[in-house]
Structure formats: C-alpha cells, structure tokens
C-alpha cells in the first residue's frame, strides 16, 4: 500500500450533532424530486407531461445543450409538478411515488464484456451519467471525452460528515463492480483515496484495479480536489473525472442487476437534531421524512449537505440533493450580540488565536449558528486563506484576478484545480467576510464560457 500523504494545512471544525453509527430505514416519502440546481450550468428540458407515469429509471428531463445526458426518476409514480423559481428557472421536478418501485431495465452483465460505447449508453439512459462530474468547473462529464484519470474519495472530513466506512459497509462487491465499469471509461488510472488515520484497514481497502492512496490531515484532506492536486494535478486542457463512492456503488448495481438502484444512506446531523443518525432512503427524498420528530424547537436552518458546501432547503417542503449523503440542521444566527466582538469567546470557533476557546478548549464541540459575525470589508488580513488551503495556489491573488475578470491570470493562477468546496474554509476563516466561494464560481463560469464557447 502506498505511503500516507500528510496534509498539514486545513481546519477541522468540531460541531455538536455527529451522527451515531446506527441506521434506520426512513419512512417512504410521498414525493421525490430531482433538482437541476444540483448541477452547475445545466439547462433542463422536461420530457414527460404532467401526470405521465414514470418508472424507476425513466428519463424526466435532459440537458438542453447535451441532449444525450438524461436525468431519471428515482421512484415509480407520476410526474407531479415542476417547481420554478426566479425567472421561471426550474428548481425541482417532483415525482409522486406509487410505492411499487416498477423498474426500467438496462444492460446487465460483466462490465469488461461491454465496449465503452455500450457502457456510456447504459449510464446515460439510466440517469447515472450525471453522477460523473469533471474537473475543471465541476460540471457533468462529457460522454465523448476521455479523462486522464478518475478520482474517488472514500472519506469525508467536512464538519459532521458521514463516516463513509460505515456507509459503504457490505457494499464492497457492488463498489468493485462500479470500479470495473469506470475502468472502461478511461485509459488512465482510477485513484481511490482512503482515510489515512487509524485504523489502516478501511472498508474499501481491498478494492482492485485502482491506485489506493491514503491521506491524513485536517479538512479539506477528504476533498477530492485536494487529492487531485497532490496526485495528478490538472493543467490547462486536461480533464479529470470525479465520482462519489455511493454513486460508484449505484453504477456497479446497475450492471450487476440491470436496474437503477437509487437507494442511499444519509446522515442526519447537527445541533438542532434530537437524535443524529443515519437513514436508509432514496435519492431526492422529501427531507421531512428524515426530520420527522427530529427537529428541536427554534429557528433552524436545514442544509442538504454539510455546513461548508451544502444548500439551504426548506425543512418541510425541501428535498435532499442528488449528491448529498448528509443533512445538517443548525440554529439560525439572526440575533444581535451585545459587544460580541469584545467577549473572550468560550463558545466561539475561530482559526485565529484571539478567542479563549482556542486556548482553553481545543477539543470543544461547538454549537455554531449562521451569523456572519461582523461586516463585509475589503481584503485586509493576509496569510489566513493559505493556512486552510493545502494546495500550491495563491488564493487571494486568484480571487482578485476573478474580481478583475482577468481570464488569463485566473488560468495562470490555477483556477482549473479548484471547486467551491476547496475554498469553503477560506470563506469560513475570512476576517473580511468575503464571499469567497461565490467569487470562485463566478470565475469558473466566465472561464468555462471563454474556453467552451
């Protein structure tokens, strides 16, 4: 086994509400939804009409600019509604479940016995292709492209993140099938990153046909972007694909059974959850099924995903995102705090060493809320971002080049290597409260526009 790669920079944010390692079957939801907003730069075109019947794996919309990329229903039932937001942008495509799970059937058999085209075709038809995303830009991979490598990160270091070793337990075989499928898609390597901390044997340690690397260090060590930069950094013109481990399992099952299996394990976490634990549920489930009798009193923020890269959703009407294996509920911080900036701060989390908690309570679990803790300012402090970004990139200079819309400079400063989640900690620690991840996404958008149009 390869050596452990040590990540020194970063920050582990310890919070209250880690999920206990037990899982329960979530009650079946009445409705399920696929949310086009889960993918960057996607313009959906709806296929069935309202009230049309769909099966598990029936396409419900496709990408306007890549019609071959289809998104399918996770359950059988009828197309109930198309919820739109500002400027009639489609937010959710909602399916009403009939509880029957009638499946569509797809190609079945040993992945090695199929050609690349057949595999691509089956992934596209089943709706699992959108689970494969490319770097740069973190958008859906192009089926005709051959990536230089494929990355799978089998551990998550984000705050309150699910323990993927627990999640993937007993799925090793399906995972291996999934890896065998992915092997047909690239001439390059498949990199599987495992947690480098004790114990050294992990659920996926025995996976074959991959290069296994172990990473050890604080968040963002588990981010696939960091791992790519250490193992096979992205240069101009190069493309790397990334797949999440639960999606690899789904891809494996597709070829093993010939059916799309949308089941996922989701950790429900956070200080406002009565009993944080794991739920076995189905992709795109109404979040209310996971939060039933679980929410504590008070004004809460429900997040699909983790606190550093999740999306706020409605606790009653919202749906879990396609890629999220975690739901986090934390208190809203919309109250004033008298002389808050002067207090010693025993209950405050900070990278700087200016709060009592840093000195006296290094292992404290915090009950963090959504307050910004200050006002937005120009860039003043230096060296903060660099402490939490374990990549050879100058983040402040890059952000300034994005603000100046200097495409050339963005490229030279390494924008291709980054995704929002990689800079999320920079936004967290920023004394000037700069919206770092939003600026980065704007930069990635204009970069993509420049390169691909």
């Amino acid at each position: 086994m390869a050596e452990v790669i040590k990540i020194k920079k970063g920050l582990d944010i310890k919070m209250i509400g880690q999920a206990e390692k037990i899982y329960v079957k979530a009650p079946r939801a009445k409705t399920y939804a696929i949310k086009p907003v889960d993918w960057h730069g996607l313009t959906p075109k709806i296929i069935p009409k309202l009230c049309d019947e769909v099966k598990v794996g029936t396409p419900i919309f496709f990408d306007k600019y890549h019609p071959e990329v289809k998104f399918t229903s996770p359950v059988s039932g009828i197309l109930l509604s198309i919820n739109r937001g500002e400027r009639r942008r489609i937010i959710e495509v909602v399916i009403e479940d009939d509880g029957k799970n009638t499946p569509e059937t797809f190609l079945k058999g040993e992945p090695s016995s199929f050609k690349r085209e057949q595999i691509v075709e089956s992934l596209l038809e089943s709706g699992l292709w959108p689970a494969i995303r490319q770097r740069p830009y973190t958008v859906i991979a192009k089926p005709e492209q051959h990536p230089k490598s494929i990355f799978i990160s089998a551990f998550d270091t984000a705050p309150l993140a699910p323990d993927l070793d627990f999640v993937l337990k007993d799925m090793e075989e399906d995972f291996q099938w999934g890896v065998n499928v992915l092997k047909q898609l690239t001439e390059g390597k498949i990199y599987l990153s495992l947690d480098g901390r004790y114990p050294s044997v992990r659920t996926l340690s025995a996976t074959k046909g991959v290069e296994i690397n172990r990473f050890k260090g604080p968040h963002p060590a588990g981010n696939v972007g960091i791992q790519i930069s250490k193992l096979d950094p992205i240069n101009k013109g190069e493309v790397v694909w990334v797949v999440q481990p639960q999606d690899v399992v789904a891809i494996g099952r597709l070829f093993k059974t010939g059916k799309y299996d949308p089941s996922v394990l989701v950790a429900v976490t956070g200080s406002r959850v009565e009993k944080p634990q794991y739920y076995k549920t189905i992709r795109g489930a109404a979040v209310s099924t996971l939060l039933e009798k679980q929410l504590k009193e008070g004004e809460n923020r429900v997040i699909s995903g983790n606190v550093l890269n999740g999306r706020q959703i409605d606790g009653e009407k919202g749906y879990v995102g396609f890629f999220d294996s975690q739901v986090t509920v934390i208190p809203e911080g919309n109250q004033y705090e008298f002389f808050g900036w002067m207090k010693p701060g025993f209950n405050k989390k900070s990278l700087s060493r200016s709060f009592a908690s840093t000195w006296l309570l290094p292992n404290k679990q915090f009950d963090l809320d959504t307050n910004i803790h200050g006002g937005e300012r120009a860039f003043v402090m230096t060296g903060e971002y660099e402490k939490v970004l374990p990549m050879d990139i100058y983040p402040v200079q890059l952000l300034k080049s994005i603000l100046a819309n200097d495409i050339d400079k963005m490229e030279r400063l390494g924008i291709y290597e980054l995704d929002e989640e990689d800079l999320a900690l920079c936004e967290f620690v920023c004394t000037s409260k700069t919206p770092v991840t939003k600026i980065l996404r704007d930069g990635l958008k204009s970069m993509r526009k420049e390169m691909e149009e």
Binding site: I330, S352, N371, G374, L413, E427
Partner: protein
C-alpha cells in the same frame, strides 16, 4: 441589554434609506455595530463563519500597543521633570504625561474618524475599522512637543492622501501613520528633529535647567559623540535603551514594552511573526556589516543597540506588520521584513540627515511590497506552466 437594543431599533428608521437623517447612516452604523454584532446571516453555500472579524483583530493590535503607550506616558513625565530639575513622584509623572498625550489622541481620532465616516457615507459603505489602529499610531510616532495643529494637519494629509484617494482601508499603498509622520518631517523639520522636541516643555524652554540637552542617542551618534549621555550629562546604559528611559518619539522608546506587544500580536496570530523576526534579523545583519567597515562612532555601534534605539523596534512590530501595505505572500514577508531591517540601519547610519531611517525604510518597502509579491506569484505561475509542459511532452 435588550432595552438598549430596543432603543437602537427605535431610533434607527430615520437613518435608513429615504429617512431624514440618511446622510448620517454610516456614522450611525459605526456606533450600532460597535455596540452589537449585526444579525446578518450567511446566504451562500458556506453556512457558518469564523467568529473573528475586523473589529476583533484590530482591537487586539490596539491592546498590543498599550504597554508601549503606558510606558510613553510615564516617560514623558519623567523626562519633563528631569529637564526642570524638580523631583516628582510616579503619579505626578504619569499624570503629566497623560495630560500631554490626551489632546494628541483626541485630535487624531476626532479628525481621522470624522474623515473616515464622511468618506464611508459618500461611498455608501460601512465605516472600516482600520483607523482604530492608525489613530493610535499617529500620536505614538510623534515627538511629544509637536503642536496639536500639526497633528491635525498631518492626520488630514495621511487619511485623505494616504488612504481615501486609493479607495479606503485595504486599498492603500503606504502606511497612513507613517505618512503622517513623514509629512511633518518634510514640511516642518524643525518640529520633528533636533535636540529639543523629544522632551515636553523643552522647545519652549521655561524653567529648564541650564545646559540640559534633550538630544537622542541617535542624534548624538550622528554628531560622532564617543559616549552617549542624558540631558544631565550622565552616560546611558544598555538597560536604559532596553527599558526605554531615553528621549524619543512618544511610544517608541521602550523596547521591553514593544516586545510585550509583539508577543501579544504573535500569540494571537494577528501580527506576522515572519515580518517581525525578519526586520530584526535584517537590522542585525546590516549592523554587523557596518561594524566591519566602521570609520566612525555610528558605524561602530553594536548591532543589538541599533535594534533598541530610535523607532526600530516600534516600526518592526507595529508598522511593518500592517497587512495592507506589507508583502502579502508568506515568502514575500521574509524578504520584505529583511529588507526593511537592512534599509533602516543603512539609512540611519550612512545618511546623517535622516537619523530616523526606519520610517524611510518601511515607506520604501511599502512601495516595493507589491513587486516582491509579484515575483513570488510569478514563480508559482512558472511552476504551473512547467508542469503543464512536462505533461504535454
């Protein structure tokens, strides 16, 4: 507390957009956010934020300057009564020093904050906290006997020309407090150097004992004096230099007090230890080099005495570390600090017209800091391009 909050909420409406007092919104907000951390919540994909903010960071810089400030207050009184030849108690010295410095602080803060608030209102921004620190630095780098109107003029110049024309806090190129000092140094040299301005009451001269000289050690060294003596003719010891019982600008004399401040900055992580360390290292190296080629007293001065004299320590700890005007890359900080140290001692020793080389050195390196960063970042870019080419082959 909540009653105060209710009161603030009650008087707020006229200041908001469309209200009668809207032109005072920035000022109102400055006071409101001083009392209460705002209730704004996150809206993007990062849902939690670090508890640290600009107010907290800058208040720590101010706390770090307090030891030097307190020592300066006492030292002002101490030298004043020494010059008069009267015996005074500890509290008498402190009281005198306090009353001497208080008007300078008031002038600095009232003038500077007034301009800041006006500009913030013009730009429809919140008032930036940068002036908290600048307003404290300005009096601390002035000779005690400088007239108040000069402090006011220098403050106006520093804030308007040094900062606001560039776009406010975070956009300026030069350290505003140093601009204030440099402005007075060139506009009114007789009030900023010489042998009388460093001790309260000496410029005026009433009641001062005959033959009392208020020249600084650096001033004496520039005159090629073989021994350094205080106003009464007694020789200075190294302990005097370290503790700071010597004449000089108000806050700069005590190396001990400044080192306590440095410890606070480094422990809380607000000030860059790389810059502080490398300024001292640069100064020491230059001091040693000059010793090798020494032809006069100044060049023979041991390097560690250089570090304790004049504004060297103060500049290294509180001025060079300004994150806005200093180098911003971590590697750049080493170079930036080291060059400040080198230049400070070089200017100080080889150009007798400017015994205060630190101010010049920091301003000079402020100008070069973006260039240093540029080369550091270019190196990173080249590395990336090289990696791409290797793959392409």
């Amino acid at each position: 507390m909540s009653s105060l909050r209710r009161f603030v909420d009650k008087i707020k409406p006229p200041f908001e957009k469309g209200g009668k007092l809207h032109i005072f919104l920035s000022g109102f907000e400055a006071i409101e956010t001083f009392l209460f951390v705002p209730n704004k919540v996150t809206s993007g994909r990062v849902h939690i934020k670090d508890a640290n903010d600009m107010k907290r960071s800058l208040i720590l810089v101010m706390i770090a300057m307090v030891p030097a400030l307190l020592f300066g207050i006492w030292n002002t009184g101490f030298h004043h009564f020494q010059a008069l030849g009267t015996d005074a108690g500890f509290w008498q010295m402190v009281g005198f020093g306090f009353l001497k410095i208080l008007p300078m602080f008031i002038v600095s803060y009232v003038v500077g904050l007034g301009i800041e608030i006006a500009f913030a209102q013009m730009r429809h921004e919140e008032v930036a906290e940068g002036y908290f620190v600048t307003g404290m630095l300005i009096p601390m780098v002035m000779p005690v006997d400088v007239p108040l109107w000069m402090v006011a003029v220098a403050t106006v110049f520093a804030v308007v020309i040094g900062k606001e024309v560039f776009g406010g806090t975070g956009m300026n190129i030069l350290n505003p407090a140093l601009i204030a000092r440099a402005f007075l140094f060139f506009a009114y040299p007789s009030h900023m150097s010489g042998s009388t301005v460093w001790i309260a009451g000496l410029t005026d001269g009433t009641g001062v004992i005959d033959g009392y000289s208020g020249s600084t050690i650096l001033g004496q060294a520039a005159q090629n004096a073989t021994t350094f003596v205080n106003g009464l003719g007694q020789p200075y010891t190294r302990m005097d230099m370290f503790l700071g019982t010597i004449p000089g600008s108000f806050g700069e004399t005590s190396t001990l007090a400044i080192l306590i401040g440095a410890a606070i900055l480094i422990l809380t992580g607000v000030g860059s230890w790389k810059i502080i360390f490398s300024v001292f290292a640069g100064g020491a190296v230059m001091g040693l080099i000059l010793n090798l080629f020494a032809v006069n007293t100044f060049m023979e001065l041991p390097f560690y005495e250089h570090l304790m004299l004049g504004g060297f320590a103060f500049g290294a700890v509180f001025m060079a570390t300004d994150p806005v005007t200093g180098a911003q890359t971590e590697r750049g900080k080493w170079i930036y600090g080291f060059l400040i140290g080198i230049m400070a001692i070089l200017i100080r020793v080889l150009n007798p017209a400017y015994p205060e080389g630190v101010m010049m050195a920091i301003l000079l390196m402020n100008v070069f800091a973006p260039l240093i960063d540029h080369y550091i970042v270019e190196a990173n870019i080249r590395k990336r391009l090289k990696r791409a080419k290797v793959v392409a082959n």
